[in-house]
Subunit: 307 residues, 2 copies
Protein backbone atom coordinates (compact mmCIF):
# COMPACT_ATOMS: atom_id res chain seq x y z
CA UNK A 1 0.00 0.00 0.00
CA UNK A 2 1.25 3.47 -0.88
CA UNK A 3 3.88 4.90 1.47
CA UNK A 4 2.16 8.28 1.81
CA UNK A 5 -0.81 6.73 3.61
CA UNK A 6 -1.13 7.40 7.34
CA UNK A 7 1.48 10.13 6.99
CA UNK A 8 1.09 11.28 10.62
CA UNK A 9 2.33 7.84 11.65
CA UNK A 10 6.01 6.99 11.95
CA UNK A 11 7.15 4.13 9.78
CA UNK A 12 6.99 1.57 12.59
CA UNK A 13 5.70 -1.97 12.94
CA UNK A 14 2.37 -0.59 14.24
CA UNK A 15 1.68 1.37 11.06
CA UNK A 16 2.82 -1.59 8.95
CA UNK A 17 0.49 -4.01 10.75
CA UNK A 18 -2.51 -1.72 10.28
CA UNK A 19 -1.78 -1.17 6.60
CA UNK A 20 -1.19 -4.87 6.10
CA UNK A 21 -4.59 -5.72 7.57
CA UNK A 22 -6.38 -3.15 5.41
CA UNK A 23 -4.56 -4.45 2.34
CA UNK A 24 -5.43 -8.07 3.03
CA UNK A 25 -9.14 -7.65 3.70
CA UNK A 26 -9.69 -5.33 0.73
CA UNK A 27 -7.79 -7.34 -1.89
CA UNK A 28 -10.25 -9.61 -3.75
CA UNK A 29 -7.37 -11.93 -4.62
CA UNK A 30 -6.27 -12.40 -1.01
CA UNK A 31 -7.61 -15.30 1.08
CA UNK A 32 -8.47 -12.79 3.87
CA UNK A 33 -10.67 -10.69 1.57
CA UNK A 34 -13.83 -9.40 3.28
CA UNK A 35 -16.73 -8.07 1.18
CA UNK A 36 -17.66 -4.43 1.82
CA UNK A 37 -20.88 -4.97 3.82
CA UNK A 38 -18.89 -6.95 6.42
CA UNK A 39 -16.05 -4.42 6.64
CA UNK A 40 -17.27 -2.98 9.91
CA UNK A 41 -14.78 -1.08 12.09
CA UNK A 42 -15.59 0.17 15.59
CA UNK A 43 -13.70 2.86 17.49
CA UNK A 44 -13.98 3.86 21.11
CA UNK A 45 -14.11 7.66 21.49
CA UNK A 46 -12.68 8.93 24.81
CA UNK A 47 -8.93 8.34 24.82
CA UNK A 48 -9.06 6.68 21.39
CA UNK A 49 -10.29 9.38 19.01
CA UNK A 50 -9.80 12.35 21.32
CA UNK A 51 -8.11 13.00 24.68
CA UNK A 52 -9.71 12.25 28.04
CA UNK A 53 -7.61 14.18 30.56
CA UNK A 54 -8.11 15.55 33.19
CA UNK A 55 -11.40 13.62 32.83
CA UNK A 56 -13.94 12.68 30.14
CA UNK A 57 -14.77 15.85 28.23
CA UNK A 58 -18.46 15.09 28.64
CA UNK A 59 -17.99 15.36 32.39
CA UNK A 60 -16.41 18.80 31.92
CA UNK A 61 -19.56 19.70 29.97
CA UNK A 62 -21.67 18.33 32.85
CA UNK A 63 -19.66 20.31 35.40
CA UNK A 64 -20.18 23.55 33.46
CA UNK A 65 -23.92 22.81 33.13
CA UNK A 66 -24.18 21.92 36.79
CA UNK A 67 -22.60 25.21 37.85
CA UNK A 68 -24.93 27.07 35.48
CA UNK A 69 -27.98 25.37 37.00
CA UNK A 70 -26.75 25.64 40.59
CA UNK A 71 -26.67 29.42 40.31
CA UNK A 72 -30.48 29.26 40.12
CA UNK A 73 -31.00 26.08 42.14
CA UNK A 74 -28.20 25.93 44.77
CA UNK A 75 -29.89 22.91 46.40
CA UNK A 76 -28.61 20.83 43.45
CA UNK A 77 -25.22 20.70 45.17
CA UNK A 78 -26.64 18.51 47.89
CA UNK A 79 -24.23 15.57 47.71
CA UNK A 80 -20.46 15.19 47.94
CA UNK A 81 -20.28 13.97 44.35
CA UNK A 82 -22.33 16.92 43.08
CA UNK A 83 -20.11 19.35 44.94
CA UNK A 84 -16.96 17.61 43.68
CA UNK A 85 -18.12 17.81 40.05
CA UNK A 86 -19.08 21.46 40.44
CA UNK A 87 -15.58 22.10 41.86
CA UNK A 88 -13.93 20.19 38.98
CA UNK A 89 -12.47 17.81 41.57
CA UNK A 90 -12.26 14.56 39.62
CA UNK A 91 -11.00 12.31 42.40
CA UNK A 92 -14.01 13.37 44.41
CA UNK A 93 -16.31 13.06 41.41
CA UNK A 94 -15.35 9.40 40.90
CA UNK A 95 -15.39 8.51 44.62
CA UNK A 96 -18.53 6.44 44.03
CA UNK A 97 -17.41 5.08 40.66
CA UNK A 98 -19.31 5.81 37.46
CA UNK A 99 -22.53 4.74 39.22
CA UNK A 100 -22.15 7.69 41.59
CA UNK A 101 -22.34 10.06 38.64
CA UNK A 102 -25.85 9.11 37.53
CA UNK A 103 -27.29 12.00 39.57
CA UNK A 104 -25.01 14.47 37.82
CA UNK A 105 -25.93 13.05 34.43
CA UNK A 106 -29.65 13.25 35.26
CA UNK A 107 -29.45 16.89 36.31
CA UNK A 108 -27.39 17.97 33.31
CA UNK A 109 -28.64 15.66 30.55
CA UNK A 110 -32.41 15.46 30.97
CA UNK A 111 -35.53 17.57 31.07
CA UNK A 112 -34.97 18.77 27.50
CA UNK A 113 -35.64 17.56 23.99
CA UNK A 114 -32.83 15.79 22.16
CA UNK A 115 -32.66 18.69 19.70
CA UNK A 116 -32.27 21.30 22.44
CA UNK A 117 -29.68 19.17 24.22
CA UNK A 118 -27.62 18.79 21.06
CA UNK A 119 -27.80 22.51 20.27
CA UNK A 120 -26.51 23.13 23.78
CA UNK A 121 -23.72 20.56 23.34
CA UNK A 122 -22.58 22.16 20.09
CA UNK A 123 -22.70 25.59 21.67
CA UNK A 124 -20.52 24.38 24.56
CA UNK A 125 -18.03 22.68 22.24
CA UNK A 126 -17.76 25.92 20.27
CA UNK A 127 -17.09 28.10 23.32
CA UNK A 128 -15.43 25.98 26.02
CA UNK A 129 -11.67 25.59 26.23
CA UNK A 130 -9.58 22.80 27.76
CA UNK A 131 -8.18 23.86 31.17
CA UNK A 132 -4.58 22.86 30.33
CA UNK A 133 -4.20 23.34 26.59
CA UNK A 134 -6.61 26.20 25.95
CA UNK A 135 -7.81 24.31 22.87
CA UNK A 136 -11.38 23.61 21.91
CA UNK A 137 -12.17 19.99 22.83
CA UNK A 138 -12.78 19.14 19.19
CA UNK A 139 -9.22 20.34 18.52
CA UNK A 140 -7.95 17.61 20.83
CA UNK A 141 -8.85 14.78 18.46
CA UNK A 142 -5.98 12.59 17.31
CA UNK A 143 -4.78 13.49 13.82
CA UNK A 144 -3.35 9.98 13.17
CA UNK A 145 -6.72 8.43 14.04
CA UNK A 146 -8.59 10.85 11.75
CA UNK A 147 -6.27 9.68 8.97
CA UNK A 148 -7.05 6.07 9.81
CA UNK A 149 -10.83 6.73 9.72
CA UNK A 150 -10.44 8.38 6.31
CA UNK A 151 -8.30 5.59 4.96
CA UNK A 152 -10.70 2.88 6.13
CA UNK A 153 -13.71 4.68 4.66
CA UNK A 154 -11.84 5.10 1.38
CA UNK A 155 -11.27 1.33 1.46
CA UNK A 156 -14.97 0.53 1.85
CA UNK A 157 -15.17 0.16 5.62
CA UNK A 158 -18.21 1.25 7.62
CA UNK A 159 -16.68 3.24 10.46
CA UNK A 160 -18.57 3.32 13.78
CA UNK A 161 -18.05 4.90 17.18
CA UNK A 162 -18.82 2.64 20.15
CA UNK A 163 -18.46 4.88 23.18
CA UNK A 164 -19.13 4.90 26.90
CA UNK A 165 -20.13 8.52 26.34
CA UNK A 166 -23.74 9.55 25.94
CA UNK A 167 -25.10 8.84 22.49
CA UNK A 168 -26.77 12.26 22.11
CA UNK A 169 -23.65 14.08 23.28
CA UNK A 170 -21.32 12.30 20.85
CA UNK A 171 -23.74 12.49 17.92
CA UNK A 172 -23.83 16.26 18.35
CA UNK A 173 -20.27 16.57 16.99
CA UNK A 174 -19.32 13.19 15.45
CA UNK A 175 -20.35 14.09 11.92
CA UNK A 176 -18.51 17.40 11.76
CA UNK A 177 -15.49 16.21 13.75
CA UNK A 178 -15.02 12.65 12.50
CA UNK A 179 -17.28 12.40 9.44
CA UNK A 180 -19.31 9.78 11.33
CA UNK A 181 -23.09 10.21 10.89
CA UNK A 182 -25.49 9.90 13.84
CA UNK A 183 -26.67 6.39 12.95
CA UNK A 184 -23.10 5.10 13.28
CA UNK A 185 -22.70 6.17 16.89
CA UNK A 186 -23.38 3.57 19.60
CA UNK A 187 -23.27 5.01 23.11
CA UNK A 188 -24.64 5.05 26.61
CA UNK A 189 -28.28 6.01 26.87
CA UNK A 190 -30.77 7.40 29.34
CA UNK A 191 -34.50 6.81 29.11
CA UNK A 192 -36.28 8.84 26.43
CA UNK A 193 -39.91 9.45 25.61
CA UNK A 194 -41.91 10.43 22.54
CA UNK A 195 -43.90 13.62 23.10
CA UNK A 196 -46.19 15.80 21.04
CA UNK A 197 -46.60 19.34 22.36
CA UNK A 198 -48.55 21.96 20.44
CA UNK A 199 -48.44 19.75 17.36
CA UNK A 200 -44.65 19.47 17.50
CA UNK A 201 -43.31 15.95 17.95
CA UNK A 202 -39.99 15.41 19.66
CA UNK A 203 -37.93 13.03 21.75
CA UNK A 204 -37.63 14.10 25.38
CA UNK A 205 -34.72 13.12 27.62
CA UNK A 206 -35.73 11.72 31.03
CA UNK A 207 -33.50 11.40 34.10
CA UNK A 208 -31.52 8.24 34.81
CA UNK A 209 -29.10 5.93 33.07
CA UNK A 210 -30.61 3.10 31.06
CA UNK A 211 -27.64 1.50 29.34
CA UNK A 212 -23.93 1.85 29.99
CA UNK A 213 -22.03 1.18 26.79
CA UNK A 214 -18.79 0.17 28.47
CA UNK A 215 -17.02 -3.09 29.29
CA UNK A 216 -19.32 -6.04 28.45
CA UNK A 217 -21.91 -3.40 27.45
CA UNK A 218 -19.93 -2.65 24.30
CA UNK A 219 -20.59 -6.01 22.60
CA UNK A 220 -24.22 -5.64 23.71
CA UNK A 221 -24.43 -2.16 22.13
CA UNK A 222 -22.80 -3.52 18.97
CA UNK A 223 -25.35 -6.31 18.70
CA UNK A 224 -28.25 -3.93 19.29
CA UNK A 225 -27.23 -1.37 16.72
CA UNK A 226 -24.89 -3.05 14.25
CA UNK A 227 -26.16 -6.63 14.35
CA UNK A 228 -22.98 -8.23 13.08
CA UNK A 229 -19.51 -8.76 14.53
CA UNK A 230 -17.08 -6.04 13.35
CA UNK A 231 -13.75 -7.12 11.89
CA UNK A 232 -11.75 -4.27 13.44
CA UNK A 233 -11.93 -2.68 16.90
CA UNK A 234 -9.86 0.11 18.41
CA UNK A 235 -9.82 1.25 22.03
CA UNK A 236 -7.50 2.46 24.74
CA UNK A 237 -8.69 1.13 28.08
CA UNK A 238 -9.94 -1.97 29.85
CA UNK A 239 -13.45 -0.65 29.19
CA UNK A 240 -12.73 -1.67 25.59
CA UNK A 241 -11.41 -5.13 26.50
CA UNK A 242 -14.69 -7.00 25.92
CA UNK A 243 -15.21 -5.20 22.60
CA UNK A 244 -11.76 -6.22 21.34
CA UNK A 245 -12.26 -9.74 22.66
CA UNK A 246 -15.68 -10.02 20.97
CA UNK A 247 -14.27 -8.81 17.67
CA UNK A 248 -11.01 -10.74 17.61
CA UNK A 249 -12.26 -14.09 18.91
CA UNK A 250 -14.65 -14.45 15.97
CA UNK A 251 -13.40 -16.50 13.01
CA UNK A 252 -11.85 -14.88 9.94
CA UNK A 253 -9.45 -11.93 9.70
CA UNK A 254 -9.84 -9.61 12.70
CA UNK A 255 -7.84 -6.74 14.13
CA UNK A 256 -7.65 -5.38 17.68
CA UNK A 257 -5.92 -2.05 18.27
CA UNK A 258 -5.12 -0.44 21.63
CA UNK A 259 -3.79 3.08 22.06
CA UNK A 260 -1.28 3.32 24.91
CA UNK A 261 -0.94 6.90 26.14
CA UNK A 262 2.83 7.16 26.55
CA UNK A 263 3.44 10.74 25.59
CA UNK A 264 3.57 13.08 28.60
CA UNK A 265 5.18 15.75 26.51
CA UNK A 266 2.73 16.03 23.63
CA UNK A 267 -0.40 14.60 25.30
CA UNK A 268 -0.59 12.60 28.54
CA UNK A 269 1.10 9.47 29.87
CA UNK A 270 -1.04 7.05 31.87
CA UNK A 271 -2.21 3.48 31.94
CA UNK A 272 -2.91 1.56 35.17
CA UNK A 273 -3.34 4.07 37.94
CA UNK A 274 -6.01 6.50 36.86
CA UNK A 275 -9.56 7.05 38.05
CA UNK A 276 -10.85 6.42 34.53
CA UNK A 277 -9.62 4.98 31.26
CA UNK A 278 -7.23 2.59 33.00
CA UNK A 279 -5.39 0.14 30.78
CA UNK A 280 -4.12 -2.88 32.68
CA UNK A 281 -5.50 -6.23 31.53
CA UNK A 282 -5.21 -4.99 27.95
CA UNK A 283 -1.45 -4.38 28.36
CA UNK A 284 -0.96 -7.79 29.94
CA UNK A 285 -2.91 -9.79 27.35
CA UNK A 286 -2.42 -7.79 24.14
CA UNK A 287 0.49 -9.89 22.88
CA UNK A 288 -1.14 -13.24 23.54
CA UNK A 289 -4.29 -12.10 21.84
CA UNK A 290 -2.45 -10.68 18.85
CA UNK A 291 -3.69 -7.16 19.51
CA UNK A 292 -1.64 -4.29 18.18
CA UNK A 293 -0.52 -1.66 20.71
CA UNK A 294 0.02 1.91 19.59
CA UNK A 295 2.81 3.53 21.58
CA UNK A 296 1.77 7.15 21.10
CA UNK A 297 5.22 8.57 21.67
CA UNK A 298 6.98 6.17 19.36
CA UNK A 299 4.33 5.64 16.68
CA UNK A 300 2.82 9.04 16.05
CA UNK A 301 4.50 11.96 14.28
CA UNK A 302 1.80 14.32 15.50
CA UNK A 303 -0.95 14.00 18.09
CA UNK A 304 -3.54 16.78 17.75
CA UNK A 305 -4.13 18.66 14.52
CA UNK A 306 -2.25 21.93 14.10
CA UNK A 307 -4.05 24.51 16.23
Amino acid sequence: MSADLLSSWHDTKTRARILDFITRVTDPAHPDFVPEPARVAVFDNDGTLWSERPTYFQLLFAADKLNQKARIEPELLESDVMRAVAAYDWDGAFSGGVAGLVGVVSVTHSGVSVDAFQDDTRDWLQNARHPDTGRRYTEMVFAPMLELLDLMRARGFQVWIVTGGGVHFVRAFAEETYGIPPERVVGSTGPIEYRVEDGVAHIFKLPGLEFMDDGPGKPVGIDRQIGQVPIFAAGNSDGDFAMLEYVTSAPGPRFGLLLHHTDAEREFAYDRDVHLGALDRGLIEADDRGWCLIDMKRDWKSVWPEA
Copy 2:
Protein backbone atom coordinates in the same frame (compact mmCIF):
# COMPACT_ATOMS: atom_id res chain seq x y z
CA MET B 1 -39.69 10.72 -13.56
CA SER B 2 -39.64 7.85 -16.04
CA ALA B 3 -42.99 6.12 -16.56
CA ASP B 4 -41.53 2.61 -16.22
CA LEU B 5 -40.67 3.17 -12.56
CA LEU B 6 -42.79 1.38 -9.99
CA SER B 7 -44.17 -0.80 -12.76
CA SER B 8 -46.15 -3.01 -10.34
CA TRP B 9 -48.15 0.08 -9.41
CA HIS B 10 -51.19 1.23 -11.37
CA ASP B 11 -50.94 4.72 -12.77
CA THR B 12 -52.97 6.29 -9.95
CA LYS B 13 -52.67 9.36 -7.80
CA THR B 14 -50.87 7.30 -5.12
CA ARG B 15 -48.05 6.32 -7.45
CA ALA B 16 -47.85 9.89 -8.77
CA ARG B 17 -47.58 11.37 -5.28
CA ILE B 18 -44.77 8.98 -4.29
CA LEU B 19 -42.83 9.64 -7.49
CA ASP B 20 -43.37 13.38 -7.12
CA PHE B 21 -41.90 13.33 -3.60
CA ILE B 22 -38.85 11.34 -4.68
CA THR B 23 -38.33 13.70 -7.61
CA ARG B 24 -38.57 16.83 -5.47
CA VAL B 25 -36.20 15.79 -2.70
CA THR B 26 -33.57 14.41 -5.09
CA ASP B 27 -33.48 17.32 -7.54
CA PRO B 28 -30.70 19.75 -6.52
CA ALA B 29 -32.54 22.55 -8.33
CA HIS B 30 -35.78 22.02 -6.41
CA PRO B 31 -36.50 23.99 -3.21
CA ASP B 32 -37.41 20.68 -1.49
CA PHE B 33 -34.02 19.13 -2.25
CA VAL B 34 -32.64 17.02 0.62
CA PRO B 35 -28.93 16.05 0.69
CA GLU B 36 -28.23 12.30 0.66
CA PRO B 37 -27.23 11.83 4.32
CA ALA B 38 -30.65 13.16 5.41
CA ARG B 39 -32.62 11.03 2.92
CA VAL B 40 -33.70 8.54 5.54
CA ALA B 41 -36.77 6.39 4.83
CA VAL B 42 -38.33 4.05 7.40
CA PHE B 43 -40.67 1.16 6.67
CA ASP B 44 -42.73 -0.90 9.05
CA ASN B 45 -42.43 -4.63 8.26
CA ASP B 46 -45.54 -6.66 9.24
CA GLY B 47 -48.40 -5.65 6.96
CA THR B 48 -46.24 -3.07 5.16
CA LEU B 49 -43.44 -5.06 3.52
CA TRP B 50 -44.98 -8.52 3.90
CA SER B 51 -48.36 -9.95 4.92
CA GLU B 52 -49.48 -10.43 8.52
CA ARG B 53 -52.46 -12.76 8.29
CA PRO B 54 -53.68 -14.91 10.04
CA THR B 55 -51.21 -13.35 12.53
CA TYR B 56 -47.67 -11.95 12.62
CA PHE B 57 -45.42 -14.48 10.90
CA GLN B 58 -43.04 -14.31 13.84
CA LEU B 59 -45.83 -15.64 16.04
CA LEU B 60 -46.29 -18.56 13.65
CA PHE B 61 -42.57 -19.20 14.11
CA ALA B 62 -43.05 -19.01 17.89
CA ALA B 63 -45.99 -21.42 17.73
CA ASP B 64 -43.97 -23.97 15.76
CA LYS B 65 -41.04 -23.59 18.21
CA LEU B 66 -43.37 -23.89 21.19
CA ASN B 67 -44.87 -27.12 19.89
CA GLN B 68 -41.38 -28.46 19.24
CA LYS B 69 -40.30 -27.66 22.79
CA ALA B 70 -43.54 -28.85 24.39
CA ARG B 71 -43.00 -32.34 23.01
CA ILE B 72 -40.06 -32.59 25.42
CA GLU B 73 -41.36 -30.23 28.13
CA PRO B 74 -45.19 -30.53 28.13
CA GLU B 75 -45.35 -28.37 31.27
CA LEU B 76 -44.60 -25.37 29.03
CA LEU B 77 -48.26 -25.35 28.02
CA GLU B 78 -49.28 -24.27 31.50
CA SER B 79 -51.27 -21.12 30.66
CA ASP B 80 -54.27 -20.41 28.45
CA VAL B 81 -52.18 -18.15 26.22
CA MET B 82 -49.48 -20.82 25.80
CA ARG B 83 -52.08 -23.42 24.90
CA ALA B 84 -53.79 -21.02 22.48
CA VAL B 85 -50.51 -20.26 20.68
CA ALA B 86 -49.64 -23.96 20.49
CA ALA B 87 -53.10 -24.57 18.98
CA TYR B 88 -52.63 -21.70 16.47
CA ASP B 89 -55.70 -20.05 18.01
CA TRP B 90 -54.95 -16.35 17.49
CA ASP B 91 -58.00 -14.92 19.26
CA GLY B 92 -56.96 -16.90 22.33
CA ALA B 93 -53.31 -15.97 21.86
CA PHE B 94 -54.11 -12.23 21.97
CA SER B 95 -56.63 -12.51 24.81
CA GLY B 96 -54.15 -10.71 27.10
CA GLY B 97 -52.90 -8.32 24.43
CA VAL B 98 -49.32 -8.27 23.27
CA ALA B 99 -48.21 -8.15 26.92
CA GLY B 100 -49.71 -11.62 27.43
CA LEU B 101 -47.35 -12.99 24.81
CA VAL B 102 -44.12 -12.19 26.65
CA GLY B 103 -44.05 -15.69 28.13
CA VAL B 104 -44.30 -17.25 24.67
CA VAL B 105 -41.55 -14.98 23.38
CA SER B 106 -39.32 -15.87 26.32
CA VAL B 107 -39.72 -19.61 25.84
CA THR B 108 -39.15 -19.49 22.09
CA HIS B 109 -36.68 -16.63 21.68
CA SER B 110 -34.16 -16.98 24.52
CA GLY B 111 -31.68 -19.40 26.02
CA VAL B 112 -29.61 -19.41 22.83
CA SER B 113 -26.94 -17.27 21.20
CA VAL B 114 -28.02 -14.71 18.61
CA ASP B 115 -26.18 -16.70 15.93
CA ALA B 116 -27.97 -19.94 16.80
CA PHE B 117 -31.33 -18.16 16.96
CA GLN B 118 -30.83 -16.62 13.53
CA ASP B 119 -29.74 -19.92 11.99
CA ASP B 120 -32.93 -21.40 13.38
CA THR B 121 -35.01 -18.51 12.01
CA ARG B 122 -33.54 -18.92 8.52
CA ASP B 123 -34.09 -22.64 8.68
CA TRP B 124 -37.74 -22.12 9.60
CA LEU B 125 -38.27 -19.53 6.85
CA GLN B 126 -36.79 -21.97 4.36
CA ASN B 127 -39.05 -24.85 5.37
CA ALA B 128 -42.30 -23.47 6.78
CA ARG B 129 -45.29 -22.74 4.56
CA HIS B 130 -48.15 -20.31 5.08
CA PRO B 131 -51.32 -22.17 6.20
CA ASP B 132 -53.57 -20.56 3.53
CA THR B 133 -51.33 -19.83 0.56
CA GLY B 134 -48.79 -22.64 0.84
CA ARG B 135 -46.09 -20.08 0.09
CA ARG B 136 -42.88 -19.53 1.99
CA TYR B 137 -43.32 -16.48 4.21
CA THR B 138 -40.57 -14.62 2.36
CA GLU B 139 -42.64 -15.17 -0.81
CA MET B 140 -45.42 -13.11 0.78
CA VAL B 141 -43.52 -9.85 0.57
CA PHE B 142 -45.14 -7.09 -1.46
CA ALA B 143 -43.64 -6.76 -4.92
CA PRO B 144 -44.68 -3.07 -5.27
CA MET B 145 -42.93 -2.25 -1.99
CA LEU B 146 -39.75 -4.08 -3.05
CA GLU B 147 -39.79 -1.85 -6.15
CA LEU B 148 -40.18 1.21 -3.98
CA LEU B 149 -37.24 0.18 -1.75
CA ASP B 150 -35.08 -0.32 -4.85
CA LEU B 151 -36.11 2.99 -6.35
CA MET B 152 -35.41 4.91 -3.15
CA ARG B 153 -32.00 3.30 -2.71
CA ALA B 154 -31.17 4.10 -6.34
CA ARG B 155 -32.09 7.71 -5.55
CA GLY B 156 -29.69 7.90 -2.59
CA PHE B 157 -32.07 7.10 0.27
CA GLN B 158 -30.99 5.11 3.30
CA VAL B 159 -33.79 2.56 3.67
CA TRP B 160 -34.53 1.27 7.18
CA ILE B 161 -37.00 -1.18 8.71
CA VAL B 162 -38.65 -0.03 11.95
CA THR B 163 -40.65 -3.00 13.12
CA GLY B 164 -42.60 -4.22 16.13
CA GLY B 165 -41.06 -7.61 15.31
CA GLY B 166 -37.99 -8.88 17.11
CA VAL B 167 -34.79 -7.33 15.84
CA HIS B 168 -32.90 -10.64 15.66
CA PHE B 169 -35.78 -12.36 13.86
CA VAL B 170 -36.13 -9.67 11.18
CA ARG B 171 -32.37 -9.26 10.69
CA ALA B 172 -32.14 -12.97 9.92
CA PHE B 173 -33.86 -12.42 6.55
CA ALA B 174 -33.93 -8.66 5.88
CA GLU B 175 -30.74 -8.58 3.85
CA GLU B 176 -31.62 -11.46 1.53
CA THR B 177 -35.31 -10.56 1.27
CA TYR B 178 -35.26 -6.76 1.16
CA GLY B 179 -31.60 -5.87 0.62
CA ILE B 180 -31.63 -4.20 4.04
CA PRO B 181 -28.49 -4.91 6.10
CA PRO B 182 -28.67 -5.78 9.82
CA GLU B 183 -27.62 -2.32 11.04
CA ARG B 184 -30.63 -0.79 9.28
CA VAL B 185 -33.20 -2.85 11.20
CA VAL B 186 -34.78 -1.28 14.29
CA GLY B 187 -37.01 -3.67 16.20
CA SER B 188 -38.29 -4.93 19.51
CA THR B 189 -35.63 -6.35 21.80
CA GLY B 190 -35.26 -8.68 24.72
CA PRO B 191 -32.40 -8.51 27.21
CA ILE B 192 -29.07 -9.83 25.92
CA GLU B 193 -25.76 -10.59 27.55
CA TYR B 194 -22.15 -10.82 26.46
CA ARG B 195 -20.66 -14.24 27.20
CA VAL B 196 -17.36 -15.96 26.64
CA GLU B 197 -17.51 -19.75 26.74
CA ASP B 198 -14.48 -21.91 25.92
CA GLY B 199 -12.80 -18.89 24.38
CA VAL B 200 -15.73 -18.19 22.08
CA ALA B 201 -17.44 -14.84 22.57
CA HIS B 202 -21.09 -14.44 21.71
CA ILE B 203 -24.28 -12.57 22.53
CA PHE B 204 -26.77 -14.64 24.49
CA LYS B 205 -30.53 -14.05 24.42
CA LEU B 206 -32.18 -13.87 27.86
CA PRO B 207 -35.91 -14.23 28.62
CA GLY B 208 -38.21 -11.23 28.75
CA LEU B 209 -39.11 -8.22 26.64
CA GLU B 210 -37.01 -5.11 27.10
CA PHE B 211 -38.26 -2.74 24.45
CA MET B 212 -41.41 -2.84 22.33
CA ASP B 213 -40.80 -1.01 19.08
CA ASP B 214 -44.44 -0.20 18.42
CA GLY B 215 -46.67 2.86 18.78
CA PRO B 216 -44.74 5.63 20.62
CA GLY B 217 -41.86 3.14 20.84
CA LYS B 218 -41.17 3.60 17.13
CA PRO B 219 -39.96 7.23 17.40
CA VAL B 220 -37.94 6.11 20.45
CA GLY B 221 -36.34 3.28 18.46
CA ILE B 222 -35.63 5.70 15.61
CA ASP B 223 -33.88 8.13 17.94
CA ARG B 224 -31.84 5.35 19.54
CA GLN B 225 -30.60 3.83 16.32
CA ILE B 226 -30.91 6.44 13.58
CA GLY B 227 -30.45 9.63 15.57
CA GLN B 228 -32.15 11.90 13.06
CA VAL B 229 -35.76 12.37 11.95
CA PRO B 230 -36.47 10.44 8.71
CA ILE B 231 -38.11 12.29 5.82
CA PHE B 232 -40.28 9.35 4.73
CA ALA B 233 -42.25 6.80 6.75
CA ALA B 234 -44.45 3.93 5.60
CA GLY B 235 -46.74 1.79 7.73
CA ASN B 236 -50.10 0.09 7.71
CA SER B 237 -51.58 0.22 11.20
CA ASP B 238 -52.17 2.48 14.17
CA GLY B 239 -48.98 1.00 15.63
CA ASP B 240 -47.26 3.14 12.99
CA PHE B 241 -49.25 6.29 13.78
CA ALA B 242 -46.64 7.85 16.11
CA MET B 243 -43.86 7.08 13.62
CA LEU B 244 -45.70 8.83 10.78
CA GLU B 245 -46.62 11.72 13.06
CA TYR B 246 -43.00 12.08 14.25
CA VAL B 247 -41.73 12.11 10.68
CA THR B 248 -44.33 14.33 9.06
CA SER B 249 -44.67 16.96 11.79
CA ALA B 250 -40.98 17.90 11.43
CA PRO B 251 -40.20 20.89 9.18
CA GLY B 252 -39.13 20.43 5.55
CA PRO B 253 -40.43 18.01 2.93
CA ARG B 254 -41.86 14.86 4.55
CA PHE B 255 -43.94 11.94 3.37
CA GLY B 256 -46.26 9.62 5.29
CA LEU B 257 -47.55 6.49 3.56
CA LEU B 258 -50.16 4.05 4.87
CA LEU B 259 -51.02 0.76 3.23
CA HIS B 260 -54.73 -0.04 3.46
CA HIS B 261 -55.37 -3.76 3.04
CA THR B 262 -58.41 -3.69 0.75
CA ASP B 263 -57.82 -6.72 -1.39
CA ALA B 264 -59.65 -9.82 -0.08
CA GLU B 265 -59.15 -11.54 -3.40
CA ARG B 266 -55.40 -11.23 -3.87
CA GLU B 267 -54.33 -10.74 -0.23
CA PHE B 268 -56.55 -9.84 2.75
CA ALA B 269 -59.06 -7.07 3.48
CA TYR B 270 -59.06 -5.63 7.01
CA ASP B 271 -58.67 -2.41 8.90
CA ARG B 272 -60.50 -1.65 12.15
CA ASP B 273 -61.69 -4.92 13.59
CA VAL B 274 -58.72 -7.19 13.88
CA HIS B 275 -56.81 -8.47 16.90
CA LEU B 276 -53.61 -6.97 15.50
CA GLY B 277 -52.53 -4.50 12.85
CA ALA B 278 -55.74 -2.46 13.20
CA LEU B 279 -55.92 0.73 11.17
CA ASP B 280 -58.48 3.15 12.57
CA ARG B 281 -57.09 6.51 13.70
CA GLY B 282 -54.81 6.46 10.66
CA LEU B 283 -57.79 6.19 8.27
CA ILE B 284 -59.59 9.01 10.08
CA GLU B 285 -56.68 11.44 10.16
CA ALA B 286 -54.68 10.58 7.02
CA ASP B 287 -56.28 13.28 4.87
CA ASP B 288 -55.88 16.07 7.40
CA ARG B 289 -52.27 15.11 7.97
CA GLY B 290 -51.50 14.90 4.26
CA TRP B 291 -50.60 11.21 4.48
CA CYS B 292 -50.91 9.13 1.36
CA LEU B 293 -53.13 6.02 1.57
CA ILE B 294 -52.36 3.05 -0.63
CA ASP B 295 -55.56 1.24 -1.59
CA MET B 296 -54.04 -2.15 -2.31
CA LYS B 297 -56.82 -3.28 -4.62
CA ARG B 298 -56.89 -0.10 -6.65
CA ASP B 299 -53.21 0.90 -6.61
CA TRP B 300 -51.26 -2.32 -7.07
CA LYS B 301 -51.03 -4.36 -10.26
CA SER B 302 -49.55 -7.27 -8.34
CA VAL B 303 -49.24 -8.07 -4.65
CA TRP B 304 -46.79 -10.90 -4.01
CA PRO B 305 -43.97 -11.78 -6.43
CA GLU B 306 -44.74 -14.53 -8.93
CA ALA B 307 -44.48 -17.82 -7.02
